[in-house]
């Protein structure tokens, strides 16, 4: 079984988000980058599945050499080899196009991405890849198991879940619950140094959207504290704002 896991390199969850160049660029000054948490659980599940099925896991990133440390971490967690498509991503369409061009003739049985990246928060690449490769996709997957050449996937739906059977190949965007986060061990870290990291040049493709400006969300006016002995005051306030219907 061949699995491809697509990963993003994102600012650490505690990063203070600021912008430069008249609020048109994200300020990367002093920012620590990490493997996107949703991609990390995709990778963790891929490694588990590959161990059970004697398969291989390739990790892929679209971006510049700054992400190589993150790719090495993915190798330490258990990926067999890494690929970096050497391009500055413009939008999800651009990224998905690059991945689809690479994956097209490689015979992957399963392609995993995180459900979203914690920087631009789109849930786009998994389904775009599915469309570009003309194979099924599940954008928010809670569970993946394998039965022969079929994936059994749980998809999150409003107020419940759906269990799907999808023949290989398919694309899945993984959400929490699909696996536990894996901490690389010393052996993994040592072997990651010698595993292959292939750099591939991008295909020519135009993005279909671009971010023209950033803005910070409106800050809240300071909190109105209500004394613990006057709980009903809170209820009155909420009612006056139309929250409590009789």
């Amino acid at each position: 079984m061949k699995i491809l896991v697509c990963i993003s390199n994102v600012p650490d969850t505690t990063t203070k988000i600021t912008f430069t160049d008249n609020n048109t660029q994200f300020n990367t000054q002093g920012v620590q980058y990490i493997l996107n948490p949703y991609d990390e659980i995709a990778l963790a599940r891929a490694v588990e599945l590959a161990e059970n099925e004697q398969g291989t896991v390739t990790v892929l990133h679209v971006g510049d050499a700054n992400a190589d440390a993150t790719l090495r971490k993915a190798l330490a967690i258990g990926a067999s080899d890494a690929v970096r498509i050497n391009a500055q991503p413009t939008d999800a369409y651009f990224v998905a196009s690059q991945i689809a061009a690479y994956a097209q003739d490689k015979g992957f049985d399963m392609i995993l991405t995180g459900r979203e990246s914690i920087d631009y928060n789109g849930t786009k690449v998994a389904a775009m890849l599915g469309e570009m490769l003309d194979i099924p996709s599940v954008s928010i997957t809670k569970k993946i198991t394998i039965e022969g050449n079929t994936g059994i996937l749980e998809r999150e739906i409003e107020g419940g879940k759906e269990v799907l059977a999808i023949p290989f190949p398919f694309v899945a965007g993984t959400a929490e619950g699909v696996a536990d986060w894996k901490i690389p061990n010393m052996r993994g870290i040592m072997s990651a140094r010698t595993k292959p990291l292939l750099v591939v040049e991008p295909i020519e493709v135009q993005g279909l959207s671009k971010i023209v400006k950033f803005e910070s969300p409106a800050s809240r006016t300071s909190v109105q504290l209500i004394d613990a002995s006057e709980v009903s005051k809170l209820i009155d306030l909420l009612q006056s704002q139309g929250f409590l219907k009789n």
Binding site: D119, K124, I152
Partner: protein
């Protein structure tokens, strides 16, 4: 030229999030001075289809096919893209629901259209551009995204646009769709519905609790308060990590991002990752025994005190109000 809007149904019924999407799409159609066509897939009663006119649809296209009773991602996206092509739609709108998140990117690729998912504003069309806002960096910032393609796809964030009733009835037409076998590779084995609980992503009110509740056995009062308010129940990451509550209730940066009108946080200190997942809520109420809990800094209303005393009092106060 027209605007096409896809309206989801749940077991044959339209929901409020569908009317939000419709109202939003109507406003865009007005901006473009064109008509609004709604598309429904699945088995929906004729009167319900006509009633979409009450939210601005000029015409409703319906596809009701044996194989399309349940959601099939590839087939549904093929139908919506086909309708968009037939209508020469310049904008396609849908909900950024779990289902919409699976559909929108596929439709966008089929139409070679730029996509903004989680849209929170109407497009700004000044200077011939098309710019829509969405939340980025886990709601720590807002991006202005310009779509540069001829056709645009927008997936509207739940609770981001108010339902507007325009009055009127829409005409209903069957939409002819030629099924493509390769669009039905995915087989639905089972659909599990979690009783009658309010679904978290589109809930208007969310009652959320954290480690301050000390153990899973204490969630009864949280569920009772939520039921009284018609709210969804949520929790913080440590709570779902400890398996006190299921993962699907975890809101925060790596869980579900919610944007309800009212978010009530009980016994949650307010780690930056948790706040990232809830900060686009309209009103935030924080109840915590620690006056220095960081959550108070982003709250609109706060009570410093013991959840085990305050929550039963809240329940009593809501009950008193209701009776």
């Amino acid at each position: 030229m027209s605007v096409l809007v896809y309206i989801e149904n749940t077991e044959g019924k339209f929901k409020k999030s569908g009317f939000e999407v419709l109202s939003y799409a109507k406003a865009i159609a007005n901006q473009l001075n064109t008509n609004l066509i709604a598309l429904s897939i699945g088995n929906v009663a004729d009167d319900d289809l006509k009633s979409l006119g009450n939210y601005g649809a000029d015409k409703v296209l319906t596809v009701n096919h044996q194989n399309l009773k349940s959601f099939v991602n590839q087939a549904y996206s093929a139908i919506i893209a086909q309708a968009a092509k037939n209508l020469d739609a310049s904008v396609v709108v849908l909900s950024n629901s779990f289902t919409g998140k699976g559909l929108a990117p596929r439709i966008a690729v089929k139409l070679q259209a730029g996509l903004v998912d989680g849209a929170i504003s109407l497009p700004d069309m000044a200077e011939g551009k098309f710019v829509v806002k969405n939340n980025v960096f886990s709601s720590k910032a807002i991006a202005f995204v310009e779509i540069t393609s001829a056709i645009k796809v927008l997936a509207l964030m739940p609770n981001a646009y108010k339902v507007v009733e325009t009055g009127g009835q829409a005409t209903v037409e069957n939409f002819d769709y030629q099924a493509n076998e390769s669009d039905f590779k995915t087989i639905i084995k089972e659909i599990v519905k979690a009783s009658d609980k309010v679904s978290l992503p589109d809930a208007e009110i969310v009652v959320s609790a954290g480690r301050g509740l000390k153990g899973p056995e204490n969630w009864g009062m949280i569920e009772e308060l939520a039921a009284l308010l018609g709210a969804a129940v949520a929790c913080s990451k440590p709570v779902s990590d400890a398996h006190w509550r299921p993962h699907e209730e975890h809101v925060g940066q790596t869980g579900i991002t919610v944007s309800p009108n009212l978010y009530i946080a009980i016994g949650i200190s307010g780690a930056i990752q948790h706040i990232a997942g809830v900060s686009s809520s309209k009103i935030i109420v924080v109840i915590n025994s620690d006056a220095n809990a960081p959550f108070f800094k982003v709250a609109d209303y706060g009570i410093v005190g013991d959840a085990f005393e305050l929550v039963p009092q809240l329940i009593a106060a809501v009950k008193a109000l209701k009776s």
